[in-house]
């Protein structure tokens, strides 16, 4: 039982960052209908920017996180502006091929710049774990969970309570009507892609200090994010948030009670099972935003 509680706590902490990844992708994939293979690379990019600001430039740890998130947003918006803007309305395969190309370019540029050796980032938190009854957690992980939850809440408020969020939701429901109402839909798509990428970069910046930063880290992140989005239902932000926690829980349980080698297989099994039995996702009302 004690062990189970510990696993639950670990899952909760991973779930926070998975939820960030999933929400970022559900905005892009669920709403813009773009199979975004660069999402995991944006996650890796966030981690590398964290390394760049915190270790190379020696900035303050918290400032480095903020800068890394901003850098992710800028890169995401640039990708949308340069590669996808002229292909709006193209079929899903076309944009997907573009995104695969962009993913290869991004990942190999990372290897070229940073080398393939993993980097580590030191956090300013004490190494002694926080102990709560039978559960013990390192303080940096608790920090990661709280920041992730704060970002999830902020995204939720942005989409549901602000004028920009309203414009986004309108664009996603019916972009031509939204354009007729005076919304600059092109800008909305760029902003959405930037926002989704910023969330992926945030997940990378937060997990960089917990694990190590390596060029291959983005590969599985993309696929896990797809699993989370499918689990929650396309475009469903609440679903993606829960999907993140469910995937983290499934991985933790799979790794500890089946075999640690199959930790990463859980996401794929979830995808296959969900698509077979409930293709609209576990949390679907209908396909809508918010």
């Amino acid at each position: 039982m004690d062990q189970f509680l510990q696993h639950l706590a670990n899952a909760l902490i991973m779930g926070g960052t998975y939820a960030l990844l999933g929400i970022g992708l559900t905005l892009i994939f669920g709403i813009m209908r773009i199979v975004n293979f660069t999402h995991g690379e944006l996650y890796a990019f966030g981690a590398y920017m964290m390394y760049f600001f915190a270790v190379v430039l020696g900035l303050n740890f918290y400032m480095a996180i903020a800068f890394a998130i901003c850098a992710g947003m800028v890169l995401g918006a640039a990708i949308e502006y340069l590669l996808l803007r002229s292909k709006r309305g193209a079929d899903i395969d076309t944009t997907m091929l573009i995104m695969i190309g962009a993913w290869i370019v991004l990942q190999n540029t990372e290897i070229l710049i940073w080398g393939s050796v993993a980097k580590s980032i030191n956090s300013p938190f004490p190494i002694e774990p926080l102990t709560l009854g039978p559960v013990s957690l390192s303080s940096v992980r608790v920090f990661v969970l709280f920041v992730a939850l704060a970002l999830i809440a902020a995204t939720y408020v942005l989409i549901n309570r602000t004028k920009l969020g309203k414009a986004m939701r309108a664009t996603f429901q019916d972009s031509s009507t939204a354009a007729l109402m005076g919304i600059n839909t092109s800008a909305i798509y760029t902003i959405t892609f930037g926002l989704g990428s910023a969330l992926a970069a945030a997940a990378g910046a937060l997990l960089g200090p917990v694990f190590v930063v390596a060029p291959a880290m983005g590969d599985l992140a993309s696929l896990k994010a797809f699993a989370i989005v499918i689990l929650g239902g396309l475009g469903n932000i609440t679903g993606a948030a829960f999907g993140g926690f469910i995937l983290a829980f499934a991985e933790e349980m799979g790794a500890s009670y089946i075999s640690s080698g199959y930790r990463d297989a859980m996401g794929f099994l979830i995808i296959i099972i969900v698509l077979l039995f409930r293709p609209t996702g576990l949390f679907a009302r209908s396909e809508r935003v918010g």
């Binding site: 997907m96 091929l97 695969i100 190309g101 290869i104 070229l112 499918i230 698509l275 293709p279």
Partner: protein, 343 residues
């Protein structure tokens, strides 16, 4: 005209090992041919049925592992039953590898073709990743990350004639070339048959095709079985040629290589994967003199984006259009003196 051209191309490729003495270049061509074979099978799904399968490397890898294990032998225990397999000749491995990959094509086709578009892509990627993780973790069978070394090369021959083991690169070149020619003919026959026309109809308009009585799942699964079998056979050739395989064979980048070959050459054309395969099989040889592997991949990625923007149909359709325009123009010129003939 086009038949003469085809024969000339074939004669050229038949003559290659006679004058190309550099073993490294020959090796590159053999590997290039093996991937070309896989790309041709991917073209069946991507080009003719219009389904973007990004898990194609799974069939390739399954073929390689099945054939390697058939010819090496293995011993595993499943639920306390000990299963031991004595080594069999590699040729049987090739047949079994193709068959098992084709069976996987049937199963995954039945499963994945329930969904379309983005979902289909993600199911196929997930399938390939699950297979990769099994190859990595079922160490008793696959030796995991330690790889399966010492796979015997193919041995051809019959009882009265005697046997020949294909150690040399030239011999392997001819085997791969033979498989490419056979596959090309099979795919051509398939596409020209009613089955192929049904597949193309599904690509063009699935709802309309269904309304005239084409069974969607049946034809898509059929395409997946063909594609899986051919990719599996190409995997078996890879295993027996390279003689060592590890779970890295399931890398997503291998699928990406096949996809790039197909879309660069021209998806949905018979010659597309061949042309694309040659370009991307030979490009690394030239590029490696100038740049490192990362820059090569960056160039591939950039080229992929460029192709989608500039030549969305690929090289072969572009050349065909240019060629037919040129011949039309010369025909027009020939017609010019007798104006009455043109009406």
């Amino acid at each position: 005209m086009s038949r003469i051209f085809t024969l000339l191309v074939l004669a050229f490729f038949l003559s290659v090992p006679l004058w190309l003495t550099d073993q490294y270049y020959l090796h590159t061509l053999v590997v290039c041919g093996i991937f070309m074979l896989a790309a041709m099978s991917l073209n069946l799904l991507l080009g003719y049925t219009g389904q973007l399968s990004l898990g194609h490397v799974a069939f390739f890898g399954i073929g390689a592992y099945v054939s390697a294990l058939t010819s090496l032998g293995f011993s595993v225990s499943i639920f306390a039953y000990q299963i031991t397999h004595e080594p069999w000749p590699p040729v049987i491995g090739v047949v079994l590898g193709g068959a098992v990959a084709g069976l996987c094509g049937y199963l995954i086709g039945k499963l994945a073709f329930r969904v379309r578009g983005a979902y289909f892509v993600i199911v196929t990627v997930s399938f390939a990743e699950v297979i990769r993780l099994i190859a990595l973790n079922w160490i008793e069978l696959t030796n995991g990350p330690l790889a399966l070394p010492g796979i015997p090369p193919l041995t051809l021959g019959f009882e009265p004639i005697g046997y020949a083991t294909l150690w040399s690169k030239g011999a392997n070149y001819y085997v791969v070339l033979t498989f490419i020619v056979i596959t090309y003919i099979i795919i051509k026959r398939l596409i020209d048959s009613p089955y192929g026309r049904a597949m193309i109809a599904l690509r063009e308009n699935e709802i309309l095709a269904t309304s005239v009585g084409i069974s969607v799942t049946r034809y898509l699964v059929l395409a997946a079985v063909f594609a899986g079998t051919i990719a599996g056979v190409s995997g078996t050739l890879y295993a027996h040629y390279i003689q060592i395989i590890d779970p890295m064979i399931f890398m997503f980048l291998n699928t990406v290589t096949m996809v790039i070959m197909v879309i660069t050459g021209g998806k949905g054309t018979l010659a597309g994967p061949v042309v694309g395969g040659l370009i991307f099989g030979i490009a690394p040889v030239i590029l490696r003199n100038y740049v490192g592997p990362e820059v090569q991949w960056i160039l591939y990625g950039a080229l992929m984006i460029l192709i989608v923007f500039v030549l969305p149909e690929g090289i072969v359709p572009a050349i065909e259009r240019w060629f037919s325009r040129a011949t039309a123009k010369s025909a027009e010129l020939a017609m010019e003196p007798g104006k009455g003939a043109r009406s």
